[in-house]
Symmetry: C3
Subunit: 174 residues, 3 copies
């Protein structure tokens, strides 16, 4: 087995191929439930998806909203979008998309299992955020880390990066 | 292994981790062939993807079409879109998208293997249905059940739910 | 285990279920890194994703660009888009999307492992190519073959097929 699904040197003996495959599938499942929680506005479900000390960085998001749905430069402070732990993450997400129709689809995960308790991953993202007639179409990717505690994988680090963000005016397109 | 990829209590002993992983991959493959069949208009292929007694519920779809491509309230009867088995499902799908360009992409499956013969799953969906200059962009999710008969997994229950449906007028956007 | 994830007759004994599952995951990972390389413009990364003798056929692409961003019938020669090996593939891709914002998302892979060293696969694709105010939204699928050499899977054949290509004029939609 190549290193691609995660056997770092020195860890091959610790985690079997089956254990790695199970962990990869569980992490894919975890991230899918995250997307569900965001789009179905289930804030309490978000809390349990992150470790207590999870470092979550949505700091690059605010600037893409300037000039749309009433957001100005003065409103954007990246620090407001960099938080620790599940409850703070749920609060940030609720603030951003709690009142709107949102769709988040993850694509083509690259999960690497580094040990029985640590993994990293990248997910490509398409998100559609509808603020009245203004619709944000976002394209980017998450770089993440995961930790397994008591047999449960959770997100311990998350950074959202953008390749492109475009806005549609639905008054013109429908 | 946590319960996340499907070991319900009492079934752990019956299905090994490998068997579960194989089943998860086979069900992902099955659903992908379903999407192919719909978009490539291969109605006979759809039939074999469902069990003979499959309960298929597209009952929520009709209302999203009212006011577009000639569909009126009077045309929409949810019961017409709730059917049993593969042949009836193929017929409903052919009626809906047989004459148009369609694209169906599934995302972020959550497959749970409950026994050697029963599984459940959720798939997020983006679909693009092009009726002349009117294009439906659909966002939602399937909640499904699967049954394994003679070593072959098939869909035994399907309900399509919608988060958002929007219409584009291509005369304005191209 | 059914034949769906790839046990052709006569090969069952050669490749175990675990080996097949590992190979499937590695090939998914490989294709995801391909998409990353294209959209992050990492041309050298593309080279290593293909075998030296890979047959790569983007021959159907050119015609979809005629009438957009300055492309005319005279510019389109399918043979220019049918190449051998990673370096030539990287060059073709750089020529097509090197100067623009691109997004490629793969969906619903159907990977079949035919032996320890040969696999085939189909991936559905959405791509968004932004040439100034003209944006191509592409829907299609890759049919591919993979070869494992020295424990590393690479793409040995690729054909991109299209279901639908539409163009958006961003001057009208934003």
């Amino acid at each position: 087995m190549s290193s691609e699904i995660g056997a770092s040197e020195g860890t091959t003996a610790e985690v079997t191929a089956i254990e790695r495959l199970v962990a990869v599938e569980e992490i894919k499942y975890l991230k899918s439930r995250y997307f569900d929680a965001v789009d179905m506005k289930d804030w309490s479900a978000i809390i349990g998806i992150f470790t207590e000390d999870a470092q979550v960085d949505f700091g690059g998001e605010g600037k893409h909203h300037v000039g749309h749905h009433g957001v100005t430069e003065a409103d954007v402070n990246p620090d407001d979008w960099i938080v620790i732990g599940g409850p703070a993450t749920a609060k940030v997400i609720e603030g951003a998309v709690g009142g709107i129709s949102s769709v988040h689809h993850g694509h083509d995960p690259q999960i690497q299992i580094h040990s029985a308790t640590r993994a990293t991953g990248r997910w490509k993202l398409y998100d559609r955020l509808e603020y009245g007639h203004e619709v944000m179409h976002g394209y980017g990717y998450y770089d993440e880390e995961y930790r397994c505690e008591d047999g449960v994988w959770r997100i311990s680090q998350l950074t959202l990066n953008r390749l492109r963000v475009v806005w549609e005016d639905m008054r013109k397109t429908g």
